[in-house]
Symmetry: C2
Subunit: 195 residues, 2 copies
DNA sequence: TTTTTGTTTGACATTAACGTCAGACAAAAG
DNA sequence: CTTTTGTCTGACGTTAATGTCAAACAAAAA
C-alpha cells in the first residue's frame, strides 16, 4: 500500500500504551512492544526513529489526553460540588482502565529529562482555581490557598492508587476489597473537601 | 587490610542511596555509582554479586529505615494530634533530605518484581489505626474507615512531593515558593484531618 | 505497463552495561 | 619470617538492546 497509512504507527503506540499503563511493564524493550503488536522491531524504528522518540511520544500524548479529559470536566458549566464529583469519577474511570498510568507518569515527571511542553498553566485549571476561590468567598468550603485545595483533591484521589501494591499486601486485602475501599473514598473525599 | 571491613560496602550503599534518593538519577549504572563512590566497578560486584542485589538491598534498607522512623513516632505515647503533627514533621524532614525517595519507592512498589518482606502489618501501624478508631469513637475526628484516615494523611503529605516537578513548573513557582507552599500545608493538613 | 512511493523484512553492526577471573596487594595470624 | 585471609584492580568475555541498511514488496500514480 502506497497510501499514507498510520494504522501500523497507531498500533505500535497503542500497544506501547497498553504495556506501560495497563500492564505496568515499565522496562519493556522495543522488542517486547513489537512482539506484542505483532510487528517486527524494525518497524518500530521505521515509524519512530528511536526508542526514546517512541517513549516521549507516548508520554506526551498521555499527558495531553489526560489534560483534555480533565479540561472537559473542569471547565464545564456545573455547580461546584457536581464538578468535583464528576472529576473524581473521570479520574477513577481512567485509573481503572490504566492502573499503572499514574505511577508511570510520576516516574517520568521525576526524571531529569522531563520537560513541560506548554509554558502556561492550562486554561481549565485557572478556571477551576477561580471556582475554588469563589466557593471560599461564599464560605462553602474552608478557606485556604486555592492551589492547596486542588493539591488536596489530587492527592486524595491519586495516592491510594500509587501505593496500592504496598497497602493491599500489607493489609492483606483482595482486589475487590481494595476496589471497594477506593469506591468508598469518593464519598469520603467529597465530605472532607466540602464539609 | 585483612580485617572484615564493611567501610567500603557501606560507602557504596550510601553513595547509591544518595544518587537514587537525593539526586534522582534512577537510571544510574553500576559504573555511575562506582565513580561517585570513588571505587572501581569491580568492587561493586565484589561486595554485591550483581546490580540487582545492590538495588534490592538499597530498596529494602530504605523501606526498613522509613518504617523505623515511622514506628518511632506512631507508637510513641503522645496525644493523638501531637502524634499526627510530629509524624508530618518526620515525613517532611526526610523528604527534604531525599527529595526523590518517594518517587523511587513508588516506582519499585509498582514494578512486578516487588515483593514484601514481612508478612504482617507493622505493629506501629496497628497501634496507629487503633488510635484513630479511638478518636473517632470520641468524636474528635470524623467517622470513617480508620484505613481511610491513614490513607488521607499519607496522601496529603506525599502527593505534592511526587508531582512537585510538574506543579512547580506549571504554576511557575520558585523552589522557595514551593517549599513555602509545602510548609503551609502542614497546618492545613492538620485542620482538614482534625477540624 | 512502468514508475514511483511508501511499507515491511532479515541480516548485520554497534554499543553500553554487566559479570568474571586471575592475580596483585596489604594486613593480621601463625 | 611465612601463611592466610580479606581487599582491590585491570583486562577480558558476554550479553541484551538498540540502530542501520539494502533489498523485497505492494499499491497507487504516471
Amino acid at each position: 500500500m502506497a497510501m499514507r497509512d498510520n494504522g501500523t504507527e497507531q498500533l505500535i503506540k497503542d500497544t506501547a500504551k497498553r504495556i506501560f499503563f495497563a500492564e505496568g511493564k515499565t522496562n519493556a524493550t522495543t522488542q517486547d512492544i513489537a512482539d506484542a503488536a505483532g510487528v517486527t522491531r524494525t518497524l518500530v524504528n521505521y515509524y519512530f526513529r528511536s526508542k526514546d522518540v517512541l517513549f516521549k511520544r507516548v508520554f506526551d500524548e498521555a499527558m495531553i489526553d489526560t489534560r483534555n479529559r480533565f479540561d472537559e470536566v473542569l471547565s464545564a458549566p456545573l455547580a461546584f460540588p457536581k464538578k468535583v464529583e464528576k472529576f473524581i469519577d473521570v479520574f477513577y474511570n481512567e485509573a481503572l482502565k490504566f492502573p499503572y498510568k499514574e505511577a508511570f507518569m510520576i516516574s517520568e515527571i521525576n526524571s531529569h529529562e522531563f520537560a513541560l511542553k506548554q509554558k502556561e498553566a492550562p486554561e481549565a485549571l485557572k478556571i477551576f482555581l477561580q471556582d475554588i476561590k469563589k466557593e471560599m468567598d461564599n464560605g462553602t468550603i474552608k478557606k485556604m490557598k486555592p492551589m492547596n485545595f486542588m493539591l488536596n483533591l489530587f492527592s486524595l484521589m491519586a495516592y491510594p492508587l500509587l501505593t496500592r501494591p504496598l497497602f493491599q499486601r500489607t493489609f492483606e486485602l483482595t482486589d475487590t476489597q481494595y476496589e471497594t475501599l477506593l469506591k468508598d473514598r469518593k464519598k469520603m473525599i467529597l465530605e472532607i473537601l466540602m464539609p
